[in-house]
Structures are given as structure tokens and as C-alpha cells.
């Protein structure tokens, strides 16, 4: 196995989960548990694909995917924030709606090829031997995802708005008492999370697979949720988690292609098994760092 190719393909394989997970982390930091990531991702995948195919522009495809999934996420936001529905059940509902919606929209796109974004050739850096082809010859979304992680990190750590968002997530009663608009902050976070999940989905249908097939995200949204736990709700952790998972995925695919003696099914299930093992190790350590109000409904009645 060529290590240069390996690192390059890990970056491609990790990007969709990284995008979805960083968005979900922001949502959870605001105290909302949105289990609809898988549904938003698959909706983003189909919208991104449809827009890219019909306009010929992958950039528009990504933009459409982000917007479409974000609008879908607002339905979750409306139900949980204004109608005070149970977040777990509503998130599941969102996933089921997203899977149905995407299959319906995508039916006419089966077998079509999408115009993928071309690879960028970053001048100067791309010519460096070994490191160049590894890191600096990817499509633009790989860099967008990395910038997004850095942006979220800086936002949460250094800005006043980031502080308010964390306060709303840690203790919504106190945040409310201080005069912050808990529901509005949460709606904004949910919208952002939806947009990120949409981008992640579009990355699957435009870059990783470049095709539309029903249910093609195959649990990536759930993995993204697991990675937020793995990361203990920290941006750097999300980055590490997504790249580790990307590494496992690429390795097992390479092993399958190489025709080892290990059964194919065992290799295919290994990313999910390893996710479980990692979750166990993280939970056993007992350090969680989950936001205090995570998953609890807020109602300013008192």
C-alpha cells in the first residue's frame, strides 16, 4: 500500500463525517440532541446531487445541499423548541422523513454521474514531494471542512456569541435568567448543524461515490453522532475522531481489495465494531464533558 495514496484517501473518506460531526457538536453544545443527522445527510446527498447534475456546478450543489438540509433541520427545531416535543423521538422522525424524502427525490437520478469538484492544485505546496500529493491536491471541500473545524473552535473559545451558545447549552435556566434568548440561539445552532450535515451528505454523493443510490450514507450520520461523544464535545477531538474513522474505513476497503483471508463481512462491519469499542473506552474513562442541558426541553414558564 502506497502511504501517500493512503493518507490522501483517508482525508477523502473522513470529510463527510467530519462535516456532519462538527455541525452536530455545535448543536449539542447549545444543549440540543439532534438524532436526525443521518436524515439530514441523505437529504443533502440527494439535493446536492440533483443541483449539481442539473446546473453542472458542484459548488452550487454543495450550497443547495447545505441550504436544503438546514431548512429540513428547522422542522426538527420547530418541533423540539416551540412545540416542546421529545428530542430523541423527533430526531428519529427526522431521519425517517429524510430517508423517505431522499429516496423519492432521487429515484430519477439513479445511474446518472455527477460533476464532481475538480482537485485543487495549491501552488507551491502541491509540488512538495510526498507531502504535496498527500495533503495539497484535494478538492476544495476537504479544506472547507478543516477551516470549519478551526472556525468552530475559535468561535466557541474566543467569541462572545460562542460563550452565549455554551451557556445556553450548559444551563438553559441561568442563561434565560441572564436574558439570553435560549430558543433563538438553539434554532440558529440547529440550522448550522443541518447545513453542515447537508454538506457532508453532498460530499458522499458528489465526491466519494459520485453517484446517487438509495440510503447511500449507510449510517455515516450515526457515526458522526458517535464521534461527538468520542470527542468529548471538543472540535479537535472531532477532527481526530473523524480521521481515525476514515482511516479504519480506508484500511478495511484496502484489505478487501487485496483479498486477505479475513471474511469480507467482518471487514465491512469493522468500522461499526470499532466505533462501539471506542465508545466503550471513552465511557469507561468516565470523562464525558457533555453539556449540562443536553437533550432537555426548555420552556420559559416559571
Amino acid at each position: 500500500m502506497d502511504p501517500v495514496l493512503l493518507v490522501a484517501s483517508i482525508m477523502v473518506s473522513a470529510t463527510p463525517i467530519l462535516l456532519a460531526a462538527i455541525g452536530e457538536m455545535v448543536v449539542e453544545k447549545a444543549g440540543v440532541l439532534n438524532l436526525g443527522v443521518e436524515g439530514m445527510m441523505i437529504t443533502g446527498a440527494v439535493i446536492g446531487f440533483a443541483v449539481a447534475v442539473s446546473t453542472g456546478s458542484p459548488v452550487l450543489g454543495f450550497a443547495g445541499a447545505a441550504l436544503g438540509a438546514a431548512v429540513l433541520s428547522l422542522s426538527f427545531g420547530f418541533l423540539t423548541q416551540y412545540l416542546l416535543s421529545n428530542q430523541v423521538a423527533t430526531g428519529l422522525g427526522l431521519t425517517l422523513v429524510g430517508l423517505g424524502l431522499s429516496a423519492l427525490v432521487g429515484a430519477s437520478f439513479e445511474g446518472v454521474r455527477a460533476p464532481g469538484p475538480g482537485k485543487l492544485w495549491i501552488p507551491g505546496l502541491a509540488e512538495i514531494p510526498v507531502l504535496g500529493p498527500m495533503l495539497f491536491r484535494h478538492d476544495f471541500m476537504v479544506y472547507v471542512s478543516l477551516l470549519l473545524v478551526a472556525g468552530v473552535w475559535a468561535f466557541l473559545k474566543y467569541t462572545r456569541a460562542g460563550l452565549i451558545l455554551r451557556a445556553v447549552g450548559e444551563d438553559h435556566e441561568s442563561a434565560h435568567a441572564l436574558g439570553y434568548k435560549v430558543v433563538r440561539v438553539r434554532m440558529a445552532a440547529i440550522f448550522f448543524g443541518g447545513a453542515c450535515a447537508g454538506l457532508g451528505g453532498a460530499y458522499v454523493s458528489l465526491v466519494r461515490v459520485p453517484q446517487w443510490t438509495e440510503g447511500m450514507t449507510a449510517g455515516a450520520g450515526w457515526i458522526a453522532l458517535a464521534i461527538v461523544v468520542f470527542a468529548s464535545w471538543r472540535p479537535l477531538g472531532v477532527l481526530i475522531g473523524a480521521y481515525l474513522f476514515g482511516g479504519v474505513t480506508v484500511l478495511q476497503l484496502n484489505l478487501q481489495a487485496a483479498g486477505t483471508n479475513v471474511p469480507v463481512e467482518l471487514l465491512s462491519m469493522s468500522p461499526y465494531l470499532i466505533t462501539i469499542i471506542v465508545l466503550v473506552v471513552i465511557s469507561a474513562r468516565g470523562v464525558h464533558g457533555a453539556p449540562g442541558s443536553l437533550g432537555r426541553s426548555f420552556h420559559a414558564s416559571a
Partner: protein, 361 residues
């Protein structure tokens, strides 16, 4: 200014009205969706909800199908609802269902071609144990390490799907199948075929078990101390702990029951309607059952009705696909919308809507 005021107790009236309201809203929005797809909306709704029951030509076939589809949904949803009541979110019923089918079928196939009358009951037990064991994994990880059961049970669905793939292509593949994936066909093996108990009714062992599960769950939740403990754990976890209820025991109990019921459903399905272990014998019942559980308000009788309703959307959906060329995915969306509208209208159950002027601070 619209204000929500929490009811001291959930409204009993609205508990019953909201599912009906959700169905009506789904029909309206679904009708709009069908119109957008260029299909006649009223005819589509009628084909889905009315024709399977009353159409002179199709009802004869589709009425029994209603029980065939509702059986596994109800069986799984009953198990899930017990866990949901306690705040234990088993989302991986699909995996438990698959593992029940695989272990049950494997035990049966090990005795091929035995005609013993004990074989089928043995397979049912093996199926229940397979599902139970698959449910124990998230239970053990949750109680021992505090691992989130939602994520673990879900990851295990993908693991189970791969085990199913390897079973149908490898170790359970029919030696007479000429190399094609898929196990021996249970329909050609009378001793274990889960046939209709009364011809042309759709009533097979799985449906009967579902009805028994409804009654048992009702007794458990309404009359038994464990049912009370389960409800208490869900509604007031701290109070439950103070009154000596062990949270770990509740986790094992709930995930065990739902795993075993899902596993049984899988075994009944694979020995009956599906007929053999194939890579896609499972038709997503494990996920649809989540909708059934909520639509039935986590109440056994409600789940019975919700299961029948959801079965109707399956059969009506197939009929609409056949008659009107409606895409199959629209039914999936239809079912998802139903859950969404139910959760949206649920606000009336727990809150009173007040129209009032904004108060001055």
C-alpha cells in the same frame, strides 16, 4: 401572543385525539405531495387507506395481508414501548430482529430434514434468545461502562446486516441452491413452516404471539410491580432510585424484553412470509416499529391499532404502486410524516394553549 401553559397532567382526551389528528394531517400533506408528483391525490389516499379493506377485487387478498404485516410490527413495537417508557432508547430493533431470524433459522437448519414437532418451538426459543442476546450487548455496555444505548444498538444493526449477508451467502446457504445466496426454503419444509393457522386469514404464529404480547404488556405495565418500576424510572429516575429500584435491572429487563420480542418476530418472518434467509429478507420492520410504538402512545392497545394502521399503509402503498404508479419511497415518507405530525400535535396533550397579551415585565 400565544403562550403554552403546562398541564398538571397530560390530557386524556388529547392523548387519543392526537394520533387521529396526525393521520388526518398526514393525509392532507401526503395528498399535496401526490398532487405534486402528478398523481390524483384523493384517489391515492383512497387506494392506500380504503381499497385494501373494502375494494371488492383486492380486499380478499389484502385483508389477510394486513395481519401478516401488522404481526411483526406489533410484536417489536410492544417490546420497544416498554423500554421507551423507562427512558431506555433501543433504536436497534432491526438488528435484534435480524439476529433472531439468523439464530433461529440456524438452529432449525442444523436439524434438517427432521420432522419433529418439537423443532419449531425450539426455533422460536432460539430466535428469541438470539434477539435477546443482541439486546444484551447495549444493556451490558450501558450498565458496566455507561455507554450510550442509542448509538450502540444502532451500530449493531449494521453489524447484524453483515452477519446476515455472510449467513445467506455462506454458512447458511442452501446446499441445493446451485451457488445462489439464500438458505433452504422453509416453505418446502412442513415441520417448521410458519403457515397460516386458519386458511386465508393471515393469522400465523407471529400474529398470535403479537396478540399475546399485547395482553402480557398490558398486564405488566398496568398491574405488575415491575411495570410500575419501569414507568417510575422513566418519569422520575431519582424517585425510582430512592425507592430501591435498581436502574441496571430495569435496563436489562427492558432491552431483554424488546430484544427477545424482536428476535421472535424475525424468526416468525423468516419461517413464514419471507420463507428463507436472504440478504434482504428484513423489510425494515425494526425501524417502522419505532413509529408504531409512538403512534400507539406507548400503550399496548394503542400499539395494536397503530400496528394495523401502519400495515395498512404498507399494503395500500403497494396497491398504489401497482394501480397508480406511485413511487415506493413515497410510502416511507408517508410513514415518517405520520410520526412527525404526531410529535408536533403532541403539544396539545401536555400543554394548554393560551392566547394572551404580552405581559409587561
Amino acid at each position: 401572543m400565544i403562550r403554552l401553559e403546562k398541564r398538571p397532567q397530560p390530557s386524556r382526551l388529547w392523548t387519543i385525539v392526537t394520533p387521529l389528528l396526525a393521520v388526518v394531517l398526514t393525509m392532507v400533506v401526503g395528498g399535496i405531495m401526490f398532487a405534486l408528483l402528478g398523481k390524483p391525490p384523493l384517489e391515492a389516499i383512497r387506494t392506500i387507506f380504503w381499497d385494501p379493506l373494502f375494494h371488492p377485487q383486492f380486499a380478499g387478498y389484502s385483508r389477510p395481508q394486513l395481519l401478516v404485516k401488522a404481526g411483526p410490527l406489533i410484536l417489536i413495537a410492544i417490546g420497544l414501548s416498554i423500554g421507551f417508557r423507562a427512558g431506555i432508547w433501543n433504536i436497534g430493533a432491526e438488528g435484534q430482529y435480524i439476529m433472531g431470524a439468523v439464530t433461529g433459522a440456524a438452529v432449525g437448519l442444523a436439524f434438517y430434514p427432521s420432522e419433529s414437532a418439537l423443532l419449531f418451538p425450539l426455533m422460536v426459543v432460539a430466535g428469541a434468545l438470539g434477539g435477546w442476546a443482541w439486546g444484551m450487548i447495549p444493556a451490558i455496555l450501558k450498565t458496566k461502562f455507561g455507554t450510550n444505548e442509542i448509538l450502540v444498538s444502532l451500530m449493531l444493526v449494521y453489524v447484524a446486516e453483515n452477519i446476515l449477508a455472510s449467513a445467506s451467502a455462506g454458512w447458511l446457504r442452501s446446499p441445493e441452491g446451485m451457488g445462489f445466496p439464500g438458505s433452504r426454503n422453509f416453505k418446502q419444509w412442513p415441520a417448521v413452516f410458519n403457515d397460516e393457522l386458519i386458511a386465508n386469514t393471515g393469522l400465523h404464529w407471529g400474529v398470535l404471539s403479537a396478540l399475546i404480547a399485547v395482553i402480557a404488556a398490558y398486564v405488566l405495565m398496568a398491574r405488575h410491580i415491575q411495570g410500575f418500576n419501569i414507568r417510575l424510572t422513566g418519569e422520575a429516575p431519582r424517585a425510582a432510585r430512592f425507592s430501591g429500584v435498581s436502574p441496571a435491572r430495569i435496563v436489562f429487563l427492558c432491552l431483554g424484553i424488546s430484544g427477545a420480542l424482536a428476535g421472535m418476530a424475525g424468526l416468525f418472518e423468516v419461517t413464514g412470509p419471507a420463507g428463507q434467509i436472504t440478504i434482504d429478507f428484513n423489510s425494515g420492520y425494526g425501524f417502522t416499529a419505532i413509529i408504531v410504538a409512538f403512534l400507539g402512545r406507548l400503550h399496548p392497545v394503542g400499539i395494536l391499532l397503530a400496528g394495523l394502521l401502519m400495515a395498512l399503509t404498507y399494503i395500500g402503498g403497494e396497491l398504489a404502486q401497482l394501480m397508480l404508479g406511485l413511487p415506493g419511497a413515497s410510502i416511507q415518507l408517508f410513514q415518517g410524516m405520520l410520526l412527525f405530525f404526531l410529535l408536533a400535535t403532541d403539544v396539545f396533550t401536555n400543554y394548554r394553549i393560551r392566547f394572551a397579551k404580552r405581559e409587561l415585565a
